[in-house]
Point group: C5
């Protein structure tokens, strides 16, 4: 599980990628994630309309032997054991480029059609405990009667599909491998709505903050949100086109019936893309609002200063006059001079206040 | 009737959607709106050039039985009774994906062509009592001789079409089901102009406000308007492409004659999209104007401060000088010292005023 | 003649349109302009290479009878008499949608091809006496040997074409109806350059204003100009594509020879669109310049304030010191104390001035 | 030679164009430049691989008579003699639309293919003595064995081509008329790099100015540069597409071999367009930098004011206290009162300075 | 090796290019880089699945003679010896346009297909010792059994490919010349990730700087970074399309197998382009953040000024009052007058502080 890094840090990742890969031949299988000790585990769900078995095969070579008219969902979790994956690739006669992409966690979403199989790389997006968006690399390969899934981690979004298979819910048990492929893809895309929801909530909080009491940190948060939208869009935007190509393909593995369902997935992709686009525009609007608020704040500050200074500077000048020590200042010796000056100053004060009131500065 | 939420709140909606749907099989019929107790009601208008009947069938199974060369407009209001809708789906042999979309009020506009029918989802936009824009989900299915409409609420924009049917106005009674389909679509799109008008009025008010007396709240209002334009565009922009596809389709249900009318609907869509685009640019201009006004205001405030301070600070300095208590200050003992100083200060004042006048600061 | 309203007001117009039209069947002929009492007048210019007649037919039914191998330009001015127009439509066997668009002054530019005729709606743009841009709706229908023009008002841009017809100038008399159609379209488009020129002059004035003495009103004017460019673009931009489609059409009414001329019209459309695009960018630059000027002004104001305050506030502090009434202040009793303090203050003043001079603030 | 006017002035030009042309038939030959007395001069270079002649024919009618298997470059300088040009047009059987475009100096770049010739209009761009960018209209017509060039002025960029012809350099003498056409076009495009270089130098100077000492005028200059980039792009951007069309054409006059060379010209066009695009973005960045500098300046000014005022206003208040004339002010009568107050004020001053130092304001 | 100049300086380069080239015939071989004395060196790696030889041929004419079923990688370093290159061109029967592009270091990336070979120009990007991005021109020509590489400098990114050839790693030894072509292209593109990483690191530093302590120079640095992203994009963005064309080509030199690998290269190009696009948006966000920080700083400064002035100006006015010298000022003679005034002023001070505290200004 890779925390959704800033592109900056994404690039730091890429450094290690470059260091690992630079000079190696294309097609070399190199796991790019954070190596951990967890061993790869392989689970199989084999099902037909009237039967379902789940088992963990010990020997990968036997995987394709027991042909019993069942659809098999072969799920590999953990991509760090490169030897094991190479062995798997041999059993399924996968191109070495495919294996490379299957374990290369930095690979952007893609769907490649080969003669006997279709290979896709996607990104699952989660929220971790700290409500941060994290991404997980997942590769799905569709064969005639098998679907082979490569996952980085056990945490996945496929539980719903498993439940439907086990509970014989919906159409899934009566359909072919391509329908399973669709169901897995659909589960991934459906989960993106969770992320959108999270972003939407954070945007709502930020909107509140901008309108109520913007702080210098608010601008920072808005930019962070915008950056996150950019990043998520990067994961999702290619999927739309890829699914579109799958709908138009003439590859025999995708039945016309499944294309109907894929059209639904594409609708969701379009909707997610549009929503992200709107979020981006909203983040830009928020930044505008923030800047306009900062300016308004400044205006308010300036008005207070100007009102205070404009009222008291002239008055201070007047009292300064009568603080002068000239021998001959007739006003000083008038009986009511002091009170007259006080009166004059009070009048000036009132006039000033009226003036500023009219200008709506106070 | 769903109040047109901020995308933010839209997403809050989606949460419940996700919670309701996550893990369910695609094609599951789940009503997504706010459940209310109102029962679904079904109304039928059956008409031909020389006859028209209106009735509410008790049994949905009899709907297709009485074939009398009439075009039937079957209108269902209320989407919360999922069992009833499923029954209806069976009668009309609708794909379960279609039924899912028919009741899923969050579905974005779409038109899907099936072998024997064409299914479209659209958004009606209204103004509620508080002049807020609210949207209502509506799904229209075109068969050879029937048009089946799924509506959330009784409030609709189809009354004009009903009047024309009953009053035998225009061409509608003499034409086929596809013309009825067009007429309903046309009624929906025509109503969008009401919304544009409402936005235009609010923009006019805002423009007045920006030019006359912008307040910090004005910026907020401009951003709200911009957001609303974004949202409405989201409902309308797909329709243009959808209608375009309908014009180019070779589906036998759409006659060449009706395509001529659909071209008109598409013209309206183009016009609405263009107008929304212009509104968006105008909202951006308004925001620019607002910011420029805030800056101008600040300038005005600063000028007042500068003029006041620049005039009185030097004068205060001068009176300060003659307030000093040095033993030996010859000016203090001059007979006219005080009056000379007053004269000098008055001259400085006049010169300052002339200077600021020249700079157009006062 | 409709004054080119702000889109806002355009929408107010549309309200009445909606009120007039809502619920009416498509194809209903409803004049949308400001109804006036003027009766519709019909003028015909019938010409061939060696003859030209001008007359005003009393009976529209005879219009098509006198076939004498002449090209006929039938020009209708005034669109408020819906009955008359319907009658005309019957004579020329026009589709009711065509008649609807012919009188609907809000219709955006369009060209529709029918089997026996081609129908186009365009906008003439004028300057009225007050140099405001006003638009006039004009619809041109091309038949095999006739061109039928629907105009709102007598003021038009077709006089040049009439002169050429009467004076047998250029090729026009020897060519077919499609050349006349082109000539009318060309006259409309050529007139747009007048509008561009007007905008360009106003932009020049505004540029002068921004660079010389920007006022708060200047920003308003720039935004108004930008809005006007947006609006004009809306009238012109569809024409380019429409003419392009006419050039590519295989409709028998447009000869290959005329397409050569239409290519010229399209070149003009492209040029107008490009110029408008440049005007838009220039308006945005002007706004930027305006904002930068406002900031510079503010800077200048602030500098004056800062210089004045920075010089006199410390000096005032010094004179304040010697205005204190302590019993024991030795400086006060020095013979030259006063003059020494004056000297010190003068030195501070000079140093300050040098400092600010160096900073280029004065 | 037309000085590259602001679009504004360009439009002023267009006024006269409209006044000259309005009402005239399309295809009328009207020279749009500034009429001068210079007579048109016609020069011919006739060459084959082993011969080259240069002469100025007296009679245009004999131009096409002396067929001696030579390629002829017929160069007309001066477009004000419309009769002469019409005569030329007859000799070469040119369409009147072509002649119109040949002399219409406002015509934007275009390439039109006719059955027996290809006609192109381009813009030469020069720097005049004052380093201003000026444009010259040039029209090139390619026939089977002739290239006919219409130029406004004698100053041209074709000297290099002449040298190569005379010196038998490169391939040009052994190739056909289409290669000459390419060579002329290549010379025009190559010269655009001079203009790019000029803009780049001015941008460098402006960049220096913005970073070192921005003045209010700097913003003006940046906007001027941006406008100029916009204008030049307008001349160049259509050329790319036009050359592209020439490469794809199946017109027999363009040989496959020449298309290879045209691909090179197109590469240059793409490069120029990209460079202009980058210049535009750089001008926008410069404007941003300018604005950020203005803000920084303002900040600096404000800091000086704030530091001065914050230090001396409280001190002035303190000295004000002891300038009061109350009968009973014990501090005034303390032996060291004055010195204590001076000490306190000095302490305050030091604390203030430390505070502002910490805030990095001084 | 050319240091990646600002486009400005790039254009200065182009000046010399123009001066060198202007008037020369197209196809003239002119080296555009900084001429150095280094002689061109030619190295050959000839390999098959079971053999590999490396040698430096003395005579270029013998290059193609020793045909032994080997793939030959002929690598030329140093492009200043034009005679040598022309000789090489003759041996390989290269078009003179190809040779021109091979040595013209300003040429933007291109791929041209000729009948018997495919010629491509690319840019290697490096970091020099000072961490500046420098670019090197490289031209690769693919023949049936040879790959001819033109390099400016010895420093290259092809070492990894050489290692794989020598070590018989991966598939490279068993594949054809087109696979070598791909491997070289792949090495160039892979190296771009290093540059991205460098930009990403600098952006991270800048982000830190903007958020922590923005200086006027920071804006400058952001703009520089943005400009660099623009420039790099210019080198990389054409490559994507070029590789795309190579994948779609039907040229016999590119095998179907190699196209699979080229698809991978194209994926990388897409990724690089997207990353650059994100960097550009991030640079714009950084600039926005910088401006918002400058405004916030200004706000903070203004608040300090306003608080200080608003508190002490009124107090100074009060002490000024009692510094007046009127004969009749009763307060002056009150026993506790002084202390009462001090108390009043203290109260005002406290109220002011509370007021500003509430406004969150202090």
């Amino acid at each position: 599980m890779i925390k959704l890094q800033l592109p900056i840090k994404l690039q730091n990742k890429k450094k290690s990628r470059i260091h690992k890969k630079l000079g190696k031949a294309p097609g070399t299988i190199t796991y790019m994630g954070e190596r951990d000790n967890s061993i790869s585990t392989l689970d199989v769900i084999a099902y037909s309309d009237d039967s379902l078995e789940e088992y963990s095969p010990v020997n990968v070579n036997t995987l394709l032997e027991d042909k019993r008219d069942q659809i098999k969902w072969i799920n590999l979790v953990g991509l760090s054991d490169e030897g094991y994956i190479e062995q798997l690739g041999k059993v399924f006669q996968l191109n070495s480029l495919v294996l490379e992409d299957a374990v290369q966690t930095e690979q952007r979403p893609k769907i490649d059609e080969y003669e006997t199989y279709i290979f896709g790389v996607f990104k699952m997006l989660y929220l971790d405990e700290g409500q941060n968006v994290v991404s997980e690399h997942v590769a799905i390969t569709l064969f005639k009667n098998e679907v082979l899934v490569f996952q980085e981690l056990t945490k996945d979004v496929f539980d719903g599909v498993r439940q439907r298979l086990r509970g014989h819910q919906g159409r899934i048990r009566g359909k072919g491998a391509d329908y399973l492929f669709f169901a897995l893809l659909d589960a991934i895309i459906d989960n993106y709505f969770m992320i959108l929801e999270n972003i939407s909530e954070r945007m709502e909080v930020l909107e509140e903050e901008v309108y109520q009491k913007p702080k210098p940190k608010t601008a920072h948060k808005i930019q962070e949100l915008k950056k996150e939208v950019l990043r998520i869009r990067r994961y999702i935007s290619p999927v739309r086109e890829l699914v579109g190509r799958l709908i138009d393909t003439e590859h025999p593995l995708i039945t016309k019936d499944t294309k109907l369902y894929l059209r639904d997935v594409m609708d969701h992709c379009v909707e997610i893309n549009e929503t992200l686009q709107i979020y981006r525009e909203m983040a830009m609007s928020l930044m505008e609002m923030y800047m306009s608020n900062v300016s308004n704040k400044m205006n308010e500050v300036m008005k207070v200063l100007t009102v205070m200074a404009s009222i008291f500077i002239p008055l201070t000048f007047i009292v300064g006059i009568y603080g002068m020590n000239f021998d001959n200042m007739p006003e000083l010796h008038m009986q009511n001079g002091y009170f007259i000056v006080l009166g004059v100053m009070f009048t000036i004060l009132v006039l000033m206040l009226v003036y500023f009131k009219r200008k709506h500065w106070i």
